[in-house]
């Protein structure tokens, strides 16, 4: 059971916090509107960015989605399972290529497992891209990857 004294103390803190929040909030909005402070943008910017990226990632427009993937990369928000799934769902090569390029910079062994899974089902251009990524980022794995997927030797020796 909460004591009366404790209840009064909590009620006091809640009321003064709300009053202070109300006054400061109003002041902040007024100052932001008048242009004399930009502090509220520090509060709203992450939310705005989250919303903007989310809109891009779930857009019907493939180029919008592509810019969404790039935004994830620029913000270092790399969710491998999400990108693996998106690679399989995307139909256009440009988006798939961007996903591969982003994954190449952040992934480790998981990426090679993913390549093993999707390589044989991928378009020739994307296959070449995967070979290039393995060649540049995982050179020690190139031979085994090439053998496993019967990679054209010419792709290995040219860029």
């Amino acid at each position: 059971m909460i004591s009366k004294q404790k209840f009064i103390r909590i009620a006091f803190i809640v009321c003064t916090s709300m009053a202070a929040g109300f006054i400061l909030g109003k002041l902040l909005v007024a100052k932001t509107v008048s242009g004399s402070t930009a502090i509220s943008f520090f509060i709203t910017q992450p939310l705005y960015m989250y919303s903007a990226i989310n809109n891009k990632l779930y857009s019907n427009n493939p180029v919008e989605r592509l810019t969404g993937y790039c935004a994830l990369y620029e913000l270092h928000i790399i969710d491998q399972p999400f990108l693996f799934e998106r690679y399989k769902q995307e139909e256009n090569i440009a988006s798939k290529r961007v996903i591969l390029n982003i994954l190449a910079l952040y992934s480790g062994k998981e990426l090679l497992h993913f390549f093993d899974e999707v390589y044989d089902l991928s378009d020739k251009t994307l296959k070449k891209q995967m070979v290039k990524i393995v060649k540049h980022h995982y050179p020690e794995k190139l031979d085994s990857f090439a053998q496993k997927h019967k990679v054209d030797a010419q792709w290995i020796h040219t860029d």
């Binding site: 256009n92 440009a94 390029n101 910079l105 290039k132 540049h136």
Partner: protein
């Protein structure tokens, strides 16, 4: 005609050659020819900038004149095209806008941006340069001994160095020769030379 609407066939390997082309000359054309062959590109699109973002445009030659000179230079060559994409755009000539506009219409095209070594080393000053490097491949025209900055190491799987010939012809040499009344024969296609004289381009003092 080599003008292009930049939409249509899927799965093409397309080179994008951007620049001021003030004026286009044999160096641009020979390098484009070598690069198309080396990288098996289906075609190369020359995209003259309207207002260059990163440098002053010398002699104030309009985008329309520069576009027409390219059109004349590549006339009759199926695998070279010219686009008005940047000329007709209201926004500044940022490459990322151009690339995204092309991909919007042709999401299955594999794009290669053709660029000189000096310009590429300053690409980190371009708008949305990281997004650009994630989205397309780059073909760099280097000279022997040129070394790329280490900031690009992690992007190397998408950066290709062309085995292009080194041609010591530049647009500024041509502009200077016209200004000083010297011949520009052999430095650019004859039709472009005639166009320059007909419209009195590059004659004014700097």
């Amino acid at each position: 005609m080599n003008q292009i609407r930049l939409e249509g066939e899927a799965h093409l390997k397309v080179g994008i050659f951007g620049g001021t082309f003030n004026p286009v000359h044999i160096g641009h054309l020979i390098n484009a020819q070598f690069i198309r062959e080396e990288f098996n590109l289906d075609f190369i699109v020359f995209i003259p900038t309207k207002y260059p973002v990163h440098k002053e445009l010398e002699d104030n030659v309009s985008a329309e004149h520069r576009y027409q000179m390219i059109r004349l230079a590549i006339e009759g060559v199926d695998y070279f095209k010219v686009s008005r994409l940047e000329i007709d755009r209201e926004k500044p000539s940022y490459t990322i806008y151009t690339v995204e506009e092309i991909l919007q219409k042709n999401p299955d095209w594999e794009l290669f941006f053709i660029i000189g070594y000096d310009a590429f080393n300053e690409i980190n000053t371009w708008k949305e340069w990281k997004r650009l490097l994630m989205t397309i491949d780059f073909i760099i025209m280097k000279r022997p001994g040129d070394v790329l900055h280490k900031r690009f190491n992690k992007y190397m799987s998408r950066i290709h160095c062309a085995k292009n010939p080194v041609i010591e012809v530049s647009s500024s040499i041509i502009r200077d020769r016209v200004r000083n009344g010297k011949s520009i024969k052999y430095l650019l296609p004859g039709r472009v030379e005639q166009y320059i004289y007909k419209h009195g381009l590059y004659k004014s003092e700097r």
